[in-house]
């Protein structure tokens, strides 16, 4: 059991840069490097990719939430001029394995439904044709006979589903995908000794990311080398992209995944295995490059990336002086038809499960259930927002029931600024913080006091104005290991998730940064350029940014869970420190000075305290070259 509270001998930090440094470039206002191409309509989005002799795919989608596929007659579709191939689930299953799933045991999802459809919009057949128009014509000619099965739409009923209402009977007799009871600290004792217990049922509803650009992939299978090239607007290809190869039943060195600009994601393009496998499968069958872009309806119904959908029964224990002592909840989470990241969406919440409060123990009973809906994925820095909602709703419930001041109650329970580093019951270490200071700042920005007065004045006129407050902890990054670390048998030791960057200085002293994750609508090029320019005291105009495919990429988890800016900054700082060492060694020879006497200043390496005694990075680079 982890100790809870202030940690007096925290593990040594790996921090290389001190906080509160003065910077000359970081923190200044730099126009985004990404913008000119987008403003001129010269981005490179997935539908902008074309290849010689390309064919186009469209998917026939299930109109049923839950049904057996009795038969598929595709003869009329195949006979349509311009149709190259019509692929059913059975045919796809000969060429491909299940799609990647990080739950253990995994839940089998196929790129094209095999035997059964489990949600509206699930692909039933894929048509490859000379144009998307013809592919969609052909879809209308496919005749599928379905045998409808009971559709499960209510997550509470799913717990007790039986017979034909069970989505994955091979996993058990009901629709419970996973049932875990996590206890952190002496939950029972705290509740037994509580002076007050506040209870609430809370509902967090399903959502979807819905960026303006949908998901898509362009794939080319090269018969000569046996290798697939897949362009896709997803992320995480340099982290878990090798699992796409497994789904295609080829070794991982025979798949190269190439990033493109993504027109937004909001989490929903985190790991686009289905479009990647469909386009690649289509290309192997057709013997031509294939483009598969989900249309808006495809994307809404079958993006594989709906957000959390939960019902909480939550209890907060308080002592007689209204100190929060323990939090306990049972949550039912409607994961939809599949379970690609397992209980991963609860991992972010666990990393900050007590919010900003000194709660000593936490109990979390989680029912993950299957229903006949699109499966959950990652949505908007996923997980922590739901936990924050749950904590703040029950905190407000305590305020209401006990007649407390919403600010005072929160303040009295905050982890104090002098109590960091602070270990929470799940074992996570909060390194620093000042919650009362942040709250003061928020109240001042809102002019809270005057709003309370206005509220009183409005009451006398019979008008009711509400003022809400939420005090949330928001983690800085996330680690995708939560996709599997919450499994009963995780399969791997608990580690963090990597981020990489490569920096090359060419003989003329210009720098190219290679990022190993895509441009996702955030500002990776601007961030990377600013950090490297700061580190090497270079002109940002002398730095360009490229994106590595999986053939050349180093491990990189990429944007997701609001992690990328923090993580890639660390990666570039690390890369820069290696280059700085090397530049100093070479410059030291040129200047006849020891590396420790050298510093970086405006594009040059110079001797400290000796203005004018310096060589340009370009000269050092050419010398080293």
């Amino acid at each position: 059991m982890a100790e809870v509270g202030k940690i007096h001998s925290p593990p040594p930090g790996r921090q290389k840069e001190r906080p509160d440094q003065r910077f000359s470039i970081i923190g200044t206002r730099m126009l985004r490097k990404e913008d000119p191409r987008f403003l001129a309509g010269r981005g490179r989005f997935i539908d902008d990719i074309t290849l010689p002799n390309i064919a186009h795919a469209a998917a026939l989608r299930s109109p049923h939430a839950h049904a057996r596929i009795r038969s598929i007659d595709k003869s009329a579709a195949e006979a349509l001029p311009g149709v190259v191939a019509v692929i059913t689930g059975e045919e796809a299953a000969r060429e491909t394995g299940p799609l990647p799933c990080f739950a253990n045991p995994p839940v089998e999802q196929r790129c094209i439904a095999l035997g059964k459809v489990r949600h509206v919009g699930e692909p039933v057949a894929l048509v490859i044709a000379d144009s998307r128009y013809i592919a969609e014509d052909a879809i209308a000619l496919i005749n599928v006979v379905y045998e409808p099965l009971p559709a499960v739409s209510d997550m509470m009923e799913a717990i007790n589903s039986r017979g034909d209402a069970v989505l994955h009977p091979e996993r058990g007799p009901n629709n419970v995908a996973e049932h875990r009871n996590y206890l952190f600290g002496p939950v029972e004792q705290e509740f037994a000794g509580a002076a007050h217990v506040i209870k609430r049922r809370l509902r967090w509803s399903r959502s979807g990311g819905q960026p303006i650009e949908t998901a898509g992939a362009v794939a080319a299978f090269d018969e000569g080398s046996g290798k697939f090239t897949i362009y896709v607007n997803g992320s995480m290809y340099n982290y878990i992209g090798f699992t796409i190869a497994a789904a295609l039943k080829v070794p991982s060195h025979l798949v190269n995944i190439v990033p493109v600009d993504a027109g937004g994601s909001f989490g929903s393009k985190l790991f686009l295995h289905k479009v990647s496998v469909l386009a690649a499968l289509g290309s192997r069958v057709a013997g031509r490059p294939v483009k598969y872009i989900e249309d808006r309806i495809d994307y809404i119904t079958a993006s594989d990336n709906h957000g959390s959908d939960r019902i909480y029964d939550v209890e907060l224990a308080l002592d007689a002086s209204h100190r929060m002592t323990a939090l306990r909840y049972k949550v039912v989470d409607d994961y939809g038809a599949y379970f690609q990241y397992g209980l991963g969406t609860h991992g972010n919440g666990f990393s900050q499960t007590v919010g900003p409060y000194k709660i000593r123990a936490v109990g979390a009973e989680i029912y993950a259930v299957f229903t006949n809906k699109c499966q959950q994925g990652a949505c908007r820095g996923f997980g922590s927002e739901v936990t924050n909602f749950m904590i703040e709703r029950v905190v407000d419930a305590a305020v209401e029931e006990l007649g407390l001041d919403p600010m005072g109650f929160r303040r009295d329970n905050f982890i104090g600024p002098d109590e960091f580093p602070y270990q929470i019951p799940t074992g996570n270490l909060y390194d620093s913080g000042n919650y009362p200071g942040a709250l003061d700042m928020a109240l001042e920005m809102l002019d809270y006091k005057s709003w309370r007065e206005k509220q009183q004045a409005a009451r006398t006129q019979g008008r009711y104005v509400g003022i809400g407050v939420a005090s949330c902890q928001e983690k800085g990054v996330f680690s995708a290991t939560e996709f599997w670390m919450l499994n009963r048998e995780p399969g791997f030791a608990l580690t963090s998730s990597p981020e990489s960057a490569s920096v090359k200085i060419d003989p003329t002293g210009k720098a190219v940064i290679s990022l190993h994750a895509p441009c996702w609508g955030n500002s990776p090029e601007t961030v990377a350029t600013m950090v490297l320019a700061e580190q090497l005291a270079m002109d940002p105009a002398d730095i360009s940014v490229a994106y590595s495919d999986t053939d050349h990429g180093l491990p990189g988890t990429g944007p997701g869970g609001s992690r990328y800016t923090v993580m890639v900054t660390g990666a570039i700082t690390g890369a820069a420190s290696i280059i700085k060492e090397k530049l100093k060694r070479v410059a030291g020879h040129m200047l006849e000075a020891g590396p420790h006497d050298l510093e970086f200043r405006s594009g040059k390496v110079g001797v400290k305290g000796a203005p004018g005694l310096e060589v340009a990075i370009a000269e050092v680079a050419m010398q080293a070259h």
Binding site: L31, R32, E34, D35, P36, R37, F38, L39, A40, G41, R42, G43, F45, D47, D48, T50, Y133, Q210, P211, I212, E213, T214, D261, A262, G263, G264, F266, D295, R296, W520, G521, N522, S523
Partner: protein, 162 residues
Amino acid sequence: MDTLQINVTVNGRAFQRRVEPRLLLSDFIRHEIGLTGTHVGCENGVCGACTVLLDGLATRACCMLAVQADGRRIETVESLGRANNLNLLQRAFWEMHGLQCGYCTPGMLMLMTELLRENPHPDRETIRLRLNDNICRCTGYEDIVNSVVRAVELMRGETAVR
């Protein structure tokens, strides 16, 4: 399928093409003419990413057939400034962070090009009302409104480009 001949002017250049009557104008611009700056988000007239100017009027290219554009004049985002020589509206979007992922941006720019031609001095409210037509999922719109306000300033010559 039978094709029809159409004559259109795209960004000042004349094109004569044979197209299927059912070909969407958005697909014609993107895949026949090869101007991929016009984006497709919903193919339903909702999002506005495909907005182009048709004889000067902002038009959803995804809700119109290419054959309906026969004899007409089309302007796309590529008719504005180039990446290394942005026009004042594009420049204002750059300065004011009026975009993130850049996918809705061409539609926003064409919509605002129409507005600024008919009213070179729109107030904030007018800009907001017109922006109602298009959807952006990244910015929360405030920076787009600020960008257009900034463009108005730049066009008046009140302040220099930063």
